[in-house]
Amino acid sequence: MSKHLVRIFPNLAGSPWRTTSPADTTYNCIAWALGETQRWWWPDPLGQYYWPQNAQRESTLEAMREVLVAAGYMECLDGSYEEGFEKVAIYLHQGVLSHAARQIPTGAWTSKLGYLEDIEHQPQALAGSAYGDVALYMKRHQG
Protein backbone atom coordinates (compact mmCIF):
# COMPACT_ATOMS: atom_id res chain seq x y z
CA MET A 1 0.00 0.00 0.00
CA SER A 2 1.30 3.45 -0.88
CA LYS A 3 1.51 5.20 2.45
CA HIS A 4 2.32 8.53 0.85
CA LEU A 5 -1.12 8.54 -0.81
CA VAL A 6 -2.92 7.76 2.43
CA ARG A 7 -1.14 10.69 4.05
CA ILE A 8 -2.54 13.01 1.37
CA PHE A 9 -5.95 11.31 1.14
CA PRO A 10 -6.66 9.86 4.60
CA ASN A 11 -10.15 8.69 3.55
CA LEU A 12 -8.52 6.10 1.30
CA ALA A 13 -7.80 4.08 4.41
CA GLY A 14 -11.47 3.44 5.01
CA SER A 15 -12.36 1.88 1.66
CA PRO A 16 -10.90 -0.50 -0.92
CA TRP A 17 -8.36 1.06 -3.28
CA ARG A 18 -5.28 0.10 -5.24
CA THR A 19 -2.51 1.68 -7.27
CA THR A 20 -2.82 0.88 -10.98
CA SER A 21 0.14 2.71 -12.57
CA PRO A 22 3.51 4.21 -11.69
CA ALA A 23 3.81 7.97 -11.18
CA ASP A 24 3.85 9.95 -14.42
CA THR A 25 4.40 13.67 -14.99
CA THR A 26 3.00 13.78 -18.52
CA TYR A 27 -0.78 13.60 -18.03
CA ASN A 28 -3.24 14.55 -15.32
CA CYS A 29 -6.64 13.73 -13.88
CA ILE A 30 -8.75 15.46 -16.53
CA ALA A 31 -6.81 13.82 -19.36
CA TRP A 32 -7.17 10.45 -17.64
CA ALA A 33 -10.89 10.96 -16.96
CA LEU A 34 -11.37 11.60 -20.68
CA GLY A 35 -9.26 8.60 -21.66
CA GLU A 36 -6.04 10.35 -22.69
CA THR A 37 -2.46 9.90 -21.47
CA GLN A 38 -0.55 12.23 -23.80
CA ARG A 39 -1.34 15.70 -22.49
CA TRP A 40 -1.85 17.68 -19.32
CA TRP A 41 -5.29 19.32 -19.50
CA TRP A 42 -5.95 22.50 -17.56
CA PRO A 43 -7.53 25.93 -18.21
CA ASP A 44 -4.48 27.77 -16.85
CA PRO A 45 -4.46 31.55 -17.29
CA LEU A 46 -1.12 31.57 -19.14
CA GLY A 47 -2.46 29.18 -21.78
CA GLN A 48 0.52 26.84 -21.44
CA TYR A 49 -1.49 23.64 -21.01
CA TYR A 50 -4.05 21.93 -23.20
CA TRP A 51 -7.64 23.02 -23.02
CA PRO A 52 -10.22 22.73 -25.80
CA GLN A 53 -9.96 25.83 -27.93
CA ASN A 54 -13.48 27.17 -27.61
CA ALA A 55 -14.02 26.36 -23.93
CA GLN A 56 -13.74 28.91 -21.13
CA ARG A 57 -10.20 29.00 -19.78
CA GLU A 58 -11.17 29.23 -16.11
CA SER A 59 -10.82 26.74 -13.25
CA THR A 60 -14.55 26.65 -12.67
CA LEU A 61 -17.25 24.02 -12.61
CA GLU A 62 -18.94 25.74 -15.53
CA ALA A 63 -15.84 25.58 -17.70
CA MET A 64 -15.41 21.89 -16.88
CA ARG A 65 -19.07 21.18 -17.58
CA GLU A 66 -18.72 22.91 -20.96
CA VAL A 67 -15.81 20.67 -21.91
CA LEU A 68 -17.65 17.54 -20.82
CA VAL A 69 -20.83 18.46 -22.69
CA ALA A 70 -18.73 18.94 -25.82
CA ALA A 71 -17.32 15.46 -25.21
CA GLY A 72 -20.82 13.97 -25.12
CA TYR A 73 -21.53 13.95 -21.37
CA MET A 74 -24.77 14.92 -19.67
CA GLU A 75 -25.41 15.65 -16.01
CA CYS A 76 -26.54 12.83 -13.72
CA LEU A 77 -27.62 12.62 -10.12
CA ASP A 78 -24.92 10.52 -8.54
CA GLY A 79 -22.04 8.14 -9.01
CA SER A 80 -24.03 4.92 -8.90
CA TYR A 81 -23.15 2.47 -11.67
CA GLU A 82 -25.47 2.51 -14.69
CA GLU A 83 -25.11 -0.19 -17.32
CA GLY A 84 -24.03 1.23 -20.68
CA PHE A 85 -22.82 4.56 -19.30
CA GLU A 86 -19.44 5.96 -18.41
CA LYS A 87 -19.47 8.50 -15.60
CA VAL A 88 -17.06 11.18 -14.46
CA ALA A 89 -16.93 12.99 -11.12
CA ILE A 90 -15.70 16.57 -10.86
CA TYR A 91 -14.24 17.81 -7.59
CA LEU A 92 -14.09 21.41 -6.40
CA HIS A 93 -11.90 22.71 -3.59
CA GLN A 94 -13.14 26.01 -2.17
CA GLY A 95 -15.06 26.62 -5.38
CA VAL A 96 -12.11 25.95 -7.66
CA LEU A 97 -11.72 22.99 -9.99
CA SER A 98 -9.37 20.51 -8.32
CA HIS A 99 -9.83 16.99 -9.70
CA ALA A 100 -11.67 14.65 -12.05
CA ALA A 101 -12.27 10.91 -11.76
CA ARG A 102 -13.79 8.32 -14.12
CA GLN A 103 -15.97 5.33 -13.34
CA ILE A 104 -14.86 1.97 -14.70
CA PRO A 105 -17.10 -0.97 -15.64
CA THR A 106 -16.67 -2.62 -12.23
CA GLY A 107 -18.41 0.40 -10.67
CA ALA A 108 -15.19 1.54 -8.99
CA TRP A 109 -13.50 4.80 -9.98
CA THR A 110 -10.11 5.57 -11.44
CA SER A 111 -8.06 8.73 -10.86
CA LYS A 112 -4.73 10.14 -11.88
CA LEU A 113 -3.43 11.95 -8.82
CA GLY A 114 -1.57 15.06 -9.95
CA TYR A 115 1.79 13.83 -11.21
CA LEU A 116 1.63 10.77 -8.99
CA GLU A 117 0.07 7.38 -9.71
CA ASP A 118 -3.28 6.23 -11.10
CA ILE A 119 -5.45 4.54 -8.52
CA GLU A 120 -8.81 2.76 -8.31
CA HIS A 121 -10.96 4.03 -5.47
CA GLN A 122 -14.39 5.01 -4.22
CA PRO A 123 -15.40 8.61 -5.10
CA GLN A 124 -15.64 9.83 -1.52
CA ALA A 125 -12.24 8.38 -0.67
CA LEU A 126 -10.58 11.38 -2.33
CA ALA A 127 -12.82 13.95 -0.62
CA GLY A 128 -11.07 16.07 1.97
CA SER A 129 -8.60 18.88 2.37
CA ALA A 130 -6.67 18.08 -0.82
CA TYR A 131 -9.44 17.93 -3.43
CA GLY A 132 -12.53 19.16 -1.61
CA ASP A 133 -15.69 17.31 -2.61
CA VAL A 134 -17.46 15.96 -5.66
CA ALA A 135 -19.50 18.82 -7.10
CA LEU A 136 -20.79 17.24 -10.29
CA TYR A 137 -21.40 13.83 -11.83
CA MET A 138 -21.81 13.49 -15.58
CA LYS A 139 -22.33 10.48 -17.82
CA ARG A 140 -22.18 9.46 -21.47
CA HIS A 141 -22.98 6.33 -23.39
CA GLN A 142 -20.05 3.95 -23.54
CA GLY A 143 -18.47 4.11 -26.95
Binding site: F9, T25, N28, Q48, H99, G114, Y115
Partner: protein, 156 residues
Protein backbone atom coordinates in the same frame (compact mmCIF):
# COMPACT_ATOMS: atom_id res chain seq x y z
CA UNK B 1 17.20 49.35 12.10
CA UNK B 2 14.95 46.80 10.40
CA UNK B 3 16.25 44.95 7.41
CA UNK B 4 13.99 46.05 4.58
CA UNK B 5 14.99 43.21 2.28
CA UNK B 6 14.20 40.59 4.92
CA UNK B 7 10.84 42.16 5.72
CA UNK B 8 9.88 42.32 2.09
CA UNK B 9 10.76 38.71 1.51
CA UNK B 10 8.91 37.53 4.62
CA UNK B 11 5.80 39.49 3.72
CA UNK B 12 5.76 38.05 0.24
CA UNK B 13 6.17 34.52 1.46
CA UNK B 14 3.37 34.92 3.97
CA UNK B 15 1.12 36.24 1.25
CA UNK B 16 2.13 33.37 -0.96
CA UNK B 17 1.46 30.76 1.68
CA UNK B 18 -2.07 31.96 2.26
CA UNK B 19 -2.69 32.54 -1.43
CA UNK B 20 -1.73 29.00 -2.25
CA UNK B 21 -4.77 27.77 -0.37
CA UNK B 22 -7.12 30.36 -1.77
CA UNK B 23 -8.95 30.56 -5.06
CA UNK B 24 -7.09 30.98 -8.31
CA UNK B 25 -8.60 34.35 -9.02
CA UNK B 26 -6.86 35.63 -5.89
CA UNK B 27 -3.58 33.84 -6.44
CA UNK B 28 -3.29 35.27 -9.92
CA UNK B 29 -3.18 38.78 -8.52
CA UNK B 30 -0.73 37.82 -5.81
CA UNK B 31 1.35 35.95 -8.35
CA UNK B 32 1.93 39.24 -10.12
CA UNK B 33 3.12 40.69 -6.84
CA UNK B 34 5.72 37.98 -6.52
CA UNK B 35 7.85 38.98 -9.42
CA UNK B 36 8.64 42.46 -8.20
CA UNK B 37 12.28 43.32 -8.41
CA UNK B 38 13.22 43.58 -4.71
CA UNK B 39 12.78 39.83 -4.18
CA UNK B 40 14.31 38.80 -7.45
CA UNK B 41 17.35 41.01 -6.94
CA UNK B 42 17.85 39.76 -3.42
CA UNK B 43 17.83 36.13 -4.45
CA UNK B 44 19.98 36.77 -7.46
CA UNK B 45 22.53 38.33 -5.16
CA UNK B 46 22.46 35.41 -2.73
CA UNK B 47 22.54 32.91 -5.53
CA UNK B 48 25.54 34.56 -7.11
CA UNK B 49 27.49 34.25 -3.88
CA UNK B 50 26.64 30.61 -3.52
CA UNK B 51 27.33 29.49 -7.06
CA UNK B 52 29.12 32.02 -9.23
CA UNK B 53 29.78 29.47 -11.98
CA UNK B 54 26.35 27.89 -12.03
CA UNK B 55 25.29 29.48 -15.31
CA UNK B 56 28.01 27.93 -17.41
CA UNK B 57 27.34 24.20 -17.25
CA UNK B 58 24.43 21.85 -16.62
CA UNK B 59 26.85 19.15 -15.46
CA UNK B 60 27.63 20.97 -12.23
CA UNK B 61 25.72 20.13 -9.08
CA UNK B 62 22.80 22.53 -8.59
CA UNK B 63 23.17 24.78 -5.55
CA UNK B 64 21.75 23.29 -2.38
CA UNK B 65 19.04 25.95 -2.04
CA UNK B 66 17.63 25.00 -5.43
CA UNK B 67 17.67 21.32 -4.50
CA UNK B 68 15.94 21.99 -1.18
CA UNK B 69 13.28 24.24 -2.68
CA UNK B 70 12.62 21.75 -5.48
CA UNK B 71 12.22 18.92 -2.99
CA UNK B 72 9.79 20.95 -0.90
CA UNK B 73 7.82 21.99 -3.97
CA UNK B 74 7.52 18.44 -5.33
CA UNK B 75 6.70 17.00 -1.90
CA UNK B 76 3.78 19.39 -1.40
CA UNK B 77 2.32 19.56 -4.92
CA UNK B 78 2.71 16.03 -6.26
CA UNK B 79 -1.03 15.35 -5.99
CA UNK B 80 -2.06 18.72 -7.50
CA UNK B 81 -3.39 18.87 -11.04
CA UNK B 82 -3.75 22.64 -11.43
CA UNK B 83 -0.60 24.25 -12.86
CA UNK B 84 -1.61 27.38 -10.98
CA UNK B 85 -1.70 25.49 -7.70
CA UNK B 86 1.62 23.87 -8.56
CA UNK B 87 3.28 27.19 -9.44
CA UNK B 88 1.89 29.11 -6.48
CA UNK B 89 3.78 26.99 -3.97
CA UNK B 90 6.09 29.28 -1.95
CA UNK B 91 9.19 27.23 -2.79
CA UNK B 92 8.43 27.44 -6.51
CA UNK B 93 7.95 31.17 -6.15
CA UNK B 94 11.34 31.43 -4.44
CA UNK B 95 12.90 29.60 -7.37
CA UNK B 96 11.31 32.14 -9.71
CA UNK B 97 12.71 34.82 -7.45
CA UNK B 98 16.22 33.54 -8.15
CA UNK B 99 15.80 34.81 -11.70
CA UNK B 100 18.28 33.78 -14.37
CA UNK B 101 20.56 32.19 -11.78
CA UNK B 102 18.05 29.31 -11.53
CA UNK B 103 17.88 28.58 -15.26
CA UNK B 104 20.77 26.12 -15.54
CA UNK B 105 19.39 24.04 -12.67
CA UNK B 106 15.87 24.14 -14.12
CA UNK B 107 17.12 23.00 -17.52
CA UNK B 108 19.07 20.17 -15.85
CA UNK B 109 15.84 19.08 -14.18
CA UNK B 110 13.97 19.25 -17.49
CA UNK B 111 16.62 17.12 -19.20
CA UNK B 112 16.06 14.47 -16.55
CA UNK B 113 12.25 14.48 -16.65
CA UNK B 114 9.40 16.56 -18.12
CA UNK B 115 8.00 18.59 -15.24
CA UNK B 116 6.11 21.76 -14.42
CA UNK B 117 8.92 24.24 -14.89
CA UNK B 118 7.15 26.10 -17.69
CA UNK B 119 5.55 28.78 -15.55
CA UNK B 120 8.92 29.56 -13.93
CA UNK B 121 10.73 29.56 -17.26
CA UNK B 122 8.22 31.92 -18.83
CA UNK B 123 8.37 34.22 -15.80
CA UNK B 124 12.16 34.34 -15.72
CA UNK B 125 12.87 34.57 -19.46
CA UNK B 126 9.79 36.43 -20.68
CA UNK B 127 9.40 34.08 -23.64
CA UNK B 128 7.42 30.96 -24.48
CA UNK B 129 9.00 28.80 -27.19
CA UNK B 130 6.25 26.14 -27.06
CA UNK B 131 4.08 26.04 -30.19
CA UNK B 132 0.31 26.19 -29.62
CA UNK B 133 -0.25 22.65 -30.92
CA UNK B 134 2.12 21.29 -28.23
CA UNK B 135 0.30 22.89 -25.29
CA UNK B 136 -0.09 20.31 -22.55
CA UNK B 137 2.24 17.79 -24.18
CA UNK B 138 4.83 17.72 -21.42
CA UNK B 139 7.47 15.96 -23.51
CA UNK B 140 7.12 18.36 -26.43
CA UNK B 141 6.99 21.37 -24.10
CA UNK B 142 10.18 20.20 -22.41
CA UNK B 143 11.83 19.60 -25.78
CA UNK B 144 10.91 23.10 -26.96
CA UNK B 145 12.40 24.68 -23.84
CA UNK B 146 15.57 22.58 -24.06
CA UNK B 147 15.96 23.59 -27.70
CA UNK B 148 15.56 27.22 -26.66
CA UNK B 149 18.14 26.69 -23.89
CA UNK B 150 20.69 25.33 -26.38
CA UNK B 151 20.05 28.11 -28.88
CA UNK B 152 20.46 30.76 -26.20
CA UNK B 153 23.59 29.36 -24.61
CA UNK B 154 22.14 27.98 -21.38
CA UNK B 155 23.04 24.38 -22.19
CA UNK B 156 25.44 22.73 -24.60
Amino acid sequence: MPNLAEETQTDRLQIGTSAWFKGESDTRVIWEGYIVDPIRKRFQADWGNLAPQSLSSTEEQPPSDFVKLTEEWKRDTSHVSSPVGIAMHPSYQRIIGMGEAALSSIFSELQREPHHWFWALAAITGVNPVSPEDRGNMRMMSAAWLKWARENGWTE
